[in-house]
Symmetry: C2
Subunit: 389 residues, 2 copies
Amino acid sequence: MPLRDLCPALANKAYFNYGGQGPLPDPSLEAITASWRTLQELGPFSTAVWPFVERETARVRAALAGLCGVGPHRLALTENVSSGCVLPLWGLPWQRGESLLISDCEHPGVVAACRELARREGLQIATLPVQQLCRSTPQAELPAAVLEALERHLSVDTRLVVLSHLLWNTGAIMPIPAVAQRLQVHPRRPWLLVDAAQSFGSIPVAEAAAAADIYAFTGHKWCCGPEGLGGVALSERLLEQAQPTLIGWRSLRHEAEAGSAWHADARRFEVATSCLPLCSGLAASLELLAAEGSVEQRLDRIRAGSRSLWNGLQAIPAVRTVLGEPPPAGLVSFSLEFGPSHAAVVQQLGDQGLWIRQLDDPDCLRACTHITTSEAELDRLLEALAALA
Amino acid sequence: MPLRDLCPALANKAYFNYGGQGPLPDPSLEAITASWRTLQELGPFSTAVWPFVERETARVRAALAGLCGVGPHRLALTENVSSGCVLPLWGLPWQRGESLLISDCEHPGVVAACRELARREGLQIATLPVQQLCRSTPQAELPAAVLEALERHLSVDTRLVVLSHLLWNTGAIMPIPAVAQRLQVHPRRPWLLVDAAQSFGSIPVAEAAAAADIYAFTGHKWCCGPEGLGGVALSERLLEQAQPTLIGWRSLRHEAEAGSAWHADARRFEVATSCLPLCSGLAASLELLAAEGSVEQRLDRIRAGSRSLWNGLQAIPAVRTVLGEPPPAGLVSFSLEFGPSHAAVVQQLGDQGLWIRQLDDPDCLRACTHITTSEAELDRLLEALAALA
């Protein structure tokens, strides 16, 4: 059965908010409840249950690490993207006066965390402007333009660069491997923190994930896994130099000893008890995605949908798309130059069972296409938008 | 139907590891899956879904805050006890040279987190010895003995005291409200961090939770909720003075603005996306517990079981109980003076479908009784122990 038909969320609406949260396929929910039943049958806390817990954890860790192109020792499981970004960040060795260079397209949560870190450690914050580049630069030239902006905004004090892989607001892809390469020849070797909330599960990520120091993602958006489980791929040098901040029994090599060393691998950033059945659910969702084709094949389908939507939007006079070309992935951002407010549009479309979202910066609407998006859904959305605008 | 019969985990074994993890009743698993189905029907990400998310979150927050005797504004939802202990801790204003006074009965995870905090902030660590007091002092005199030990070990530099409410290893109850009162007249007004992993859901906690600065608990032990959801009750003065460390959209008053103020209430310590269905599951478990009687009535039943077990253990020559009297709650710790190793005992009992656990400090075995514990289970455990020892 095609993935779309396995998702009850898609049965009663036209859904375009994959960048907010993906639908949970029925087999994944079944895997979650089956996991809970096994936990109850074997445990919940018993010598008999640990091999099952270890197997389910190792299975999802291996699957996620494989997608990131790193060994499982570099992959920590986290509750969400924010945890994945921030947990390793706080444990890095900072020195007063160092500077954090943050793109102007980052999620407010990550930015707020960096600001608080800067306040406590006496760091500077600088902005890497990429939003306007996304609007004005042809996609083929965007990597070079971003690298040029990076060159202009790096300073001798830069110790961290924060840049999303697939920008949540404009929908453009950032040249992460090239950025990583550039940072390697900077005298301070700045850390590279990549928010992969939108890229993981929607575009190939292995090269970028392996090149970043912190590549943090979630399973509940483009992977169609359950909410509450994500991961972060960490570089070898980060594993050598960063201390954990949130610490619990899972961070410790010998969980019964407070004086124990941390786990040498990425598990030092895992904390304590979390919801094991979510591992079973995410593993099931990843298998369902893989059954739909390779990540490249799936991106082709995602882009066919976003291209179709982008093209259709050009025909609506009031609409202006944020990108000047069809998007490189599944995020289609656009604004209405006249007509109802963006908030009103979201609500009026919702009343018709069509779900898109509004973003504040830039002030725009965002509709996402996934491999589960149908032509009929796209037609409905375009018709409804044309009627509203 | 009595709670015991609603727990599949209890159907095929004699279970005594409630202090590790409680069984998940079928109605709670059903509430979890129903919650997931509602999320899919309404969303997962839509204007239609937020009222449901807000309602389920508010419902469990109110229930947990009610049990803690605090307003919902003082209750943050967390993934586990470690998060609840550590998240607010890192955000407190520390000064070099201040001292953390940590009891010798704390969980290794919390101790390791305090050590890392001390390393980064240049703090001292001192130990509050209570383990030996538990063994040697009649329970009626234990509160006074603990307060006397506190008096001896407080210094002018003490800025934090870490003490569990119900000690996970000895099973004794600490006089948290009296400790809080004592700290209020210390010139530095030390913060009081209470690990409530064992107390919450097993003994009345309202007075202690309202008196502590950080009272961190989990739903997956004595409350029989799902793993991956707990909470922390925070004092008003902590809410005024502590900054969040892990930061995401849920920490911010206006989630779309990085420059937004934190939530003024305990939500500033919540991070980002977590597993909403766990809220529905924990709320269901709390209702099932409440249907079994008040917390005082339930403690009576828990104690009837632990008393029966403690008494039975006195009749086995090789056994020495850690406490010299029947336990004040459901944790029964004991050691074998001769016979097989503790690890071997756990495994051999497990082979018979009897589940207890081993602890390292003190080197002992621990069996827990809950309101779901049956006389027949206790008899089986005592017989098996007598045969082994």
